[in-house]
Symmetry: C2
């Protein structure tokens, strides 16, 4: 089960291709937050003309990675704590609900796969404490697997293509902060247990708590960071 198991998109057209490129550049910070985007310049640097570039920018706007104002131009969004809170709240609502739906729709084989996935994560944690990055990817794999079984195409699309892209950006921003991964693993086990017992109510509640808990941790770390800066 590879990282990022959902479709990597064909990139058939110039506009799509360059959209993916810019998206990654924004998420990884290669294009920094808040940077003004000048269409002419960006088009040159990606070796395309302004037409497809504008389409790419519009797509980026639709997943909230850039702000555009008519006649005025575009800039990369800035992830302040308000926006991150908004994203985590959305995630709590939508992924909670997706978990409820998935709990009903999953086959037993799906559930078995989930248990195996968690065992893999557990081993990877025991073996090596160092590689936090890989472990975060593991976290993503788990969440992807669950919500992708909810059978609601709108929900899957929104989580996969919009929320999780901004979430990746949040994680990049907070990647130097020290997280503990064990508690997350326990949460994950509890969620799969609830799914295994076919208890959608509980599964939703646990997923919600898992996410709101994650936000509380991030919020705290952000505040500490802020205080450091203001000293």
């Amino acid at each position: 089960m590879g990282v990022n198991s959902l479709q990597p998109n064909k990139q058939d057209t110039l506009s799509e291709h360059v959209f993916e490129q810019i998206k990654e550049d924004i998420i990884t910070g290669a294009i920094p937050q808040g940077r003004k985007i000048v269409e002419t310049d960006l088009a040159k640097s990606y070796h395309i003309s302004r037409g497809p570039l504008r389409e790419a920018l519009q797509k980026l706007e639709s997943i909230h990675l850039v702000d555009r104002r008519p006649h005025s131009g575009s800039r990369v969004i800035t992830l302040d704590s308000t926006m991150m809170r908004d994203v985590y709240q959305m995630r709590e609502a939508m992924e909670g609900f997706a978990t409820r739906l998935a709990c009903v729709a999953m086959s037993q084989a799906d559930i078995d796969n989930l248990y195996r996935l968690l065992e893999k994560h557990e081993n990877s944690i025991k073996r090596s404490e160092g590689q936090r990055y890989f472990q975060k990817e593991g976290d993503l794999d788990f969440h992807y697997y669950v919500f992708s079984k909810c059978q609601n195409q709108w929900l899957i699309d929104y989580l996969n293509n919009k929320l999780y892209q901004v979430l990746r950006m949040c994680r990049h921003r907070t990647s130097q902060l020290p997280f503990r991964v064990e508690p997350a693993l326990y949460d994950h086990y509890a969620i799969v247990d609830a799914i295994n017992n076919r208890d959608p109510e509980l599964a939703e509640i646990l997923m919600r708590r898992h996410i709101s808990g994650a936000w509380k941790v991030v919020e705290k770390l952000l505040n500490q960071e802020e205080n450091k800066e203001s000293i």
Copy 2:
């Protein structure tokens, strides 16, 4: 408090203007569901060139009103019962959560406004049984008012600009079906009571039930319609 109280958009640019036009034409059925869209033709009929038209189409795609496939073209979506179920589920999750947030964030003045709004609806129902259309608009006003106070800009944007546009399309599709409006009014009162008691848990649950109940009614009517056709 007018119908559709949130921003009608400036329409400063050609692309935005024509986006709004096509959007309405799709929602009202002036452009029928499933219709193939040919850029050249549509551009001519709205008296613009293909550039801004393509931008408008992309926007329409981002709110799920048209499907686009590279090199192949666009067509207006078809509202089958699966898609309508998806939309109502999304609404249940997101608007339920928005209600929870709004319950915490609303001022007492907001709550008083809500009560006044419901009284107006009640009177309008008592006075005239006939004008179902207006009463549905009233229903929209109520929902708008609640979720617009949730303080989460992402949530508001998604509900207002995406979900509710498709929902309007659903309603157009089912506008000839016979609905009863009194039960909805009672639901609304119960929700505002929960908000007034500052009980976010309950407010969310009631809003969820209200929406899933609405879907059950629509689903039933759709099935009856289907059966009629197959006779």
